[in-house]
């Protein structure tokens, strides 16, 4: 696999785990001059064996390792695991807890999309300015998280039955103020990233993924919606409070790298709308149904729970038996589905070697998610 000369004209380049733009993976490229013939993804550099670890933890303890799957939007991943437990044990969640969960999921989604923007700007024209803008704007969200939960990135705030604590005094006003600030900064990103001449030259028409190919290869998240297909778990199978909230599913018809950037950009706008609705209209009531930490199901069950994370759809298929630990947890990760799409992109359209960082950051991979 690592032999550099394959055929007389083709050379295999190894773009490895130590590189400013590659992330924690190794990508092998078969190139002929500048044109890329074949992409091979060598994953597994961050494999921790989370599926095996979850079999040795109780239900409450399992929330901690599974949230470390994607550090940028831990709320969505934690919610998928907690929803699976609640379905398996038949626990009802009060309405106020569902609204708080939706608020945190949307804040995590904005956090993750800003991170994706920063990386995309760095790979396209080396814009450290945009990357540093995103770190500054994320501090607003991280400060809100810290006030509510005590931690900045991995808060382990959801538990089967509800959430740990209620919103503190004055929190809703702070959310509204944060949303106004982010809306003003939001317009700067459009001018810097989408209307920018450098971006248009580099990203328009690159790595086109047609709708039928997107479905056949199993794309998910903004990669799928950037090819014009309106699939979003928040609308197809509503969970938490999304059935009561008013938002749109964003799609773009152009199917290229610029379309995926625009999808992420407009999704931030929809998330800000949801945050405002929650801050203004959240109902009162209880925040959790009392559940013992040593809960165990009475008979074996099998449940499936799906949640829309920032990168796509995560599915948790949980098998339980009459024991305090789950029997098997199968995690269907979004990045692993999108990495297969990335491998096939060299066959679908012509990509040059210099475009590979731009294309891979438009897929927005997080390798800890695909390696679990």
């Amino acid at each position: 696999m690592t032999d550099p000369i394959i055929k007389p004209d083709v050379m295999r380049i190894s773009w490895g785990p130590q590189h400013p733009m590659s992330g924690q993976t190794r990508i092998l490229l078969d190139v002929d001059g500048e044109k890329v013939h074949r992409i091979i993804a060598d994953l597994g550099f961050t494999h921790r064996g989370i599926e095996k670890i979850l079999e040795n933890r109780t239900f409450f303890q399992g929330i901690i390792p599974i949230e470390r799957m994607v550090m940028a939007d831990t709320a969505n991943i934690g919610l998928s695991y907690v929803t699976a437990i609640e379905k398996a044990l038949g626990i009802e969640v009060p309405e106020r807890a569902n609204w708080i969960r939706s608020l945190m999921c949307e804040m995590a989604r904005i956090n993750s999309h800003l991170y994706a923007f920063g990386l995309q700007a760095e790979s396209t024209g080396y814009f450290p300015a945009v990357f540093l803008w995103t770190t500054t704007d994320r501090t607003i969200l991280l400060d809100l998280f810290e006030e509510l939960t005590g931690a900045r990135w991995s808060y382990n705030f959801f538990m089967p039955g509800g959430v740990h604590k209620d919103l503190p005094e004055g929190f809703q006003a702070k959310v509204v103020k944060g949303v106004e600030y982010l809306r003003r900064r939001f317009e700067d990103y459009w001018v810097a990233m989408v209307e920018n001449a450098v971006f248009e030259v580099r990203c328009d028409g690159l790595a086109v993924l047609k709708p039928e190919d997107a479905i056949r290869l199993g794309a998910t998240g903004p990669v799928l919606r950037g090819s014009g297909i309106p699939m979003d778990v928040r609308k197809d199978e509503p969970y938490a409070a999304y059935a009561d909230l008013d938002f749109d599913v964003i799609t773009e018809p152009a199917c290229d790298v610029m379309a995926r950037t625009k999808v992420r950009y407009r999704e931030i706008g929809e998330s800000l709308k949801i945050m405002e609705q929650v801050a203004n209209e959240i109902p009162g009531g209880e925040i959790a149904t009392k559940t013992s930490p040593f809960v165990r199901p009475k008979q074996p069950a099998e449940v499936m729970s799906r949640v829309e994370t920032a990168r796509g759809e995560i599915g948790i298929h949980m098998f339980t038996e009459a024991a305090p630990n789950p029997y098997r947890v199968k995690i269907n990760s979004p990045t692993l589905r999108n990495m297969y799409v990335f491998e096939r992109m060299a066959e679908l359209s012509e990509i040059l070697m210099a475009d590979i960082p731009v294309v891979i950051n438009s897929i927005d991979p997080w390798y800890l998610d695909s390696d679990r």
């Binding site: 590189h19 670890i53 940028a72 501090t139």
Partner: protein
């Protein structure tokens, strides 16, 4: 019992005034080296976003002289940020062998120290079985103030080193 570190023997130390001159030279060398630690750009696990926030605008790590750089031959520090699996640990060892002396390793987070929340995982390893570590920064993920305070500990260690004119 921990021993006191011995003073290294130096060239020309029997000449008059050599001790005073060496202490001035050590001070200047230590001051200039501690303010230019260049770590290699290698994020191995989930503490990555917190490391990027630390290099960002609010907790700017570059004012301490810490500039992440791309090529390992021009760096002098590896910051192992996050969970290390065996596949990645082999690469960390290759990078450590390629760096020039003097070189340092900082383990950021609970996972490279002792596997963190994945303590019974078959695939995660603790990095001090592969490379010698100078500073351990605990936390999951550590706060930016924690990462900066860990780098300042490394700066203290560098400032107290005596390397110029040491007899082999």
């Amino acid at each position: 019992m921990l021993e006191e570190p011995k003073e290294p023997k130096r060239n020309f130390e029997s000449l008059p005034g050599a001790k005073a001159l060496y202490s001035v030279v050590d001070y200047v060398a230590g001051w200039s080296r501690k303010y230019s630690i260049w770590p290699i750009h290698l994020v191995t696990g989930c503490c990555g976003p917190e490391f990027m926030q630390t290099s960002g605008s609010e907790y700017d790590m570059e004012r301490l002289g810490v500039l992440p750089f791309a090529s390992v031959r021009q760096c002098d520090c590896i910051m192992v940020v996050g969970v290390v699996s065996r596949k990645m640990a082999i690469r960390v060892k290759y990078l450590y062998e390629q760096m020039g002396e003097p070189k340092y390793v900082v383990a950021v987070g609970a996972c490279p120290t002792g596997k963190g929340p994945f303590y019974d995982s078959y695939a995660a390893v603790a990095i001090d079985e592969y490379v010698p570590v100078d500073v351990y920064i605990p936390g999951c993920p550590p706060r930016p103030e924690g990462i900066i305070s860990g780098m300042m500990l490394l700066q203290e260690k560098i400032r107290n080193e005596k390397r110029i004119g040491v007899k082999e």
